[in-house]
């Protein structure tokens, strides 16, 4: 089955006063219909930039330099970012949920208006029908008293509720893919769990693909079927969720998993080991592997050869590393 979304060698660079920042430097991944994908990495690794690039929401001084973005067979890079084709796709076939529920909604418009905007635009509904659908959507995402609260303003909702509204907006036009950029980072842990369950439930029902972008491994462990790990603008490991968590093969992923406590481990079994060093400066990137300064598994070859290409180490399991690490 052909992928729903196929991203090949995406390169998005930013021309800043300090130099050229290669935020996404050859990112490739794909998403199948109805899948839940995790895009994981620390702050600044380029994951947000990558999905913003897909939606063509990158603004100056950033620019998509290279890459192919195929959605359902269409090459999105052919379209102008504000042209009618791209606008129909954005918000219609591909939608996005942002991180900050507190500021991502327009304070002077009612919730109803903000949802019906999309419905009127993409589904050609008239005002009344759109309103009805909006109320349905609010009910679906679990907003109590939906019929009354639909006319409220964003500031009258709590953070968790606002994020539910964002989810409703993202689902409203029955998109093919939803990108969720750190959807739960700004809310408390209980709400986090509720929102994630809600999202999983809804996308499964509608067979929508979901790409969760996060730095929080716990979030994707439970819900994602496949995971991509990013570092310094590139994908360094990808595979099925159980493979990534069960036997990670890239030093970075291994480091990440070691630095996170696990439920069920007996107290005192092992120390939490953080990864030494700091993320690299994306402006002056060396030609070799970017993780090298922090890597504890490095060999001779790593210091001489360029950043390794992805190679298979198992069924659908790829890493960008020269070393074969066997975890006990």
């Amino acid at each position: 089955m052909a992928s729903l979304l196929d991203v090949e060698n995406l390169k998005t660079y930013f021309k800043t006063e300090y130099g050229l920042v290669k935020a996404a430097d050859g990112v490739s991944f794909n998403v199948n219909q109805g899948e839940i994908i995790g895009l994981v990495g620390e702050s600044g690794c380029g994951k947000s930039v990558s999905i913003l690039s897909l939606m063509q929401l990158i603004q100056s001084p950033g620019e998509i330099i290279d890459g192919k973005i195929m959605l359902d067979g269409q090459d999105l890079r052919k379209y102008k970012s504000n042209g009618p084709e791209m606008r129909a796709i954005r918000g219609g076939k591909m939608t996005m949920i942002f991180q900050e529920p507190m500021t991502s909604l327009n304070p002077v418009l009612t919730i109803c208006r903000q949802i019906t905007e999309s419905l009127e635009l993409h589904l050609n509904m008239d005002r009344l029908a759109a309103r009805g659908r909006a109320i349905e959507l609010l009910k679906m995402v679990g907003v109590p008293d939906a019929a009354t609260r639909i006319d409220d303003y964003p500031h009258q909702f709590s953070g968790g509720m606002r994020q539910r509204v964002m989810i409703a907006m993202a689902l409203s036009c029955n998109p093919m893919i939803i990108f969720a950029d750190e959807p739960t980072t700004a809310v408390d842990v209980t709400t986090q769990a509720q929102l994630l369950e809600l999202m999983k439930d809804l996308v499964t029902r509608q067979n929508t693909a979901l790409v969760i972008v996060t730095h929080n491994l716990g979030v994707v462990a439970r819900y994602a079927q496949r995971i991509y790990v990013m570092y310094a603008g590139r994908i360094i490991e990808s595979g099925l969720s159980e493979d990534i968590f069960g036997h990670p093969r890239h030093p970075y992923t291994i480091g990440l998993l070691h630095s996170v406590p696990r439920l069920g481990e007996r107290h005192g079994t092992r120390k939490l080991i953080p990864i030494d060093g700091m993320p690299p400066d994306l402006i002056n990137m060396p030609p070799t592997c970017a993780f090298l300064p922090r890597c504890t598994y490095k060999v001779e070859r790593c210091q001489k050869e360029p950043w390794p290409a992805l190679r298979a180490v198992g069924d659908q399991h790829y890493i960008s590393c020269y070393v074969d690490i066997r975890e006990k």
């Binding site: 006063e17 400066d281 060396p286 922090r294 504890t296 210091q303």
Partner: protein
Amino acid sequence: MPDKAIVTPPSLDAMGITAAPPRRSEWKRFARVFFGRRLYLIGFIIAVIIILTAIFAPLLAPYDPIQNELRGKLQSPSWEHWLGTDQLGRDILSRIIYGTRISLEIAFAAIFSSAIIGILMGLAAAHFGGWVFTLIMRVTDALMALPGIILVLLIAGLGGRGIPVVIFALGFGGIAGMCRMMCGQALSVKQNDYVLAGRAIGMSNWRIMLTQIFPNAFPPLIVGLTMGIGGVVLGEAGLSFLGIGVPAPNPSWGGMVMDGQRFLLDNPLLSLAPGVAIMLLVFGFNMVGDGIRDAIDPKLRGVL
């Protein structure tokens, strides 16, 4: 398992690989943003020139600014008098040069006094809250209910003539604005945890205000102060123009404009030249204020 200790081999150093991005000096960044924009740079230079002119006025001015020379009155510009003379034969250029002193002295004195009082009031309102806050807010509301010029006019006009009155009037008019600005800033700073921490270790009210709240709330006010200089200069010029500002024979720019209106046909420069001087001064200091504001704005980091 390999050894956990990380040592960067010399070969990596040679390739220029560092583990962390380089830190950029705060002052350098400030200077870069501030002097980066041509406009701010020009404004800064103008402001410096004007301040220097004020300081070195006796050396720069070719003639005595208040010496009447009735025989040579209302001359057009010439080599002896670059801008011509006024209705009492005084050299216009010299009067403008000496005028920088008057304008700057009054401006700095007025801004300084309104700043001190306004800042104290604002700090008090923000810190003590309650009825103090309400009282100060309503009083400043009342003060701001009158158009600034009217208020200044009232005080200067009815309080007698003379430079001290002018300073008092202009300073008084600026208090409300300073107070409000300081209060707003202090309130948002108050939310911060370090203020709570200070209280937790038993700092007295005054100490908290002086050492915690003020230093953090103040920087944005620097912009307001610098812009305020322009406002005060315009205000003083206006007062002098109406005849209730700096008294004759002092060379005040506003007064010169007033004098000149009657003699527009004879020597228009009498009215027009001082206006250009006013504009330059206000522009210079406004640009400095803008520059400072942009340079300390964290959101503009890395963006121009």
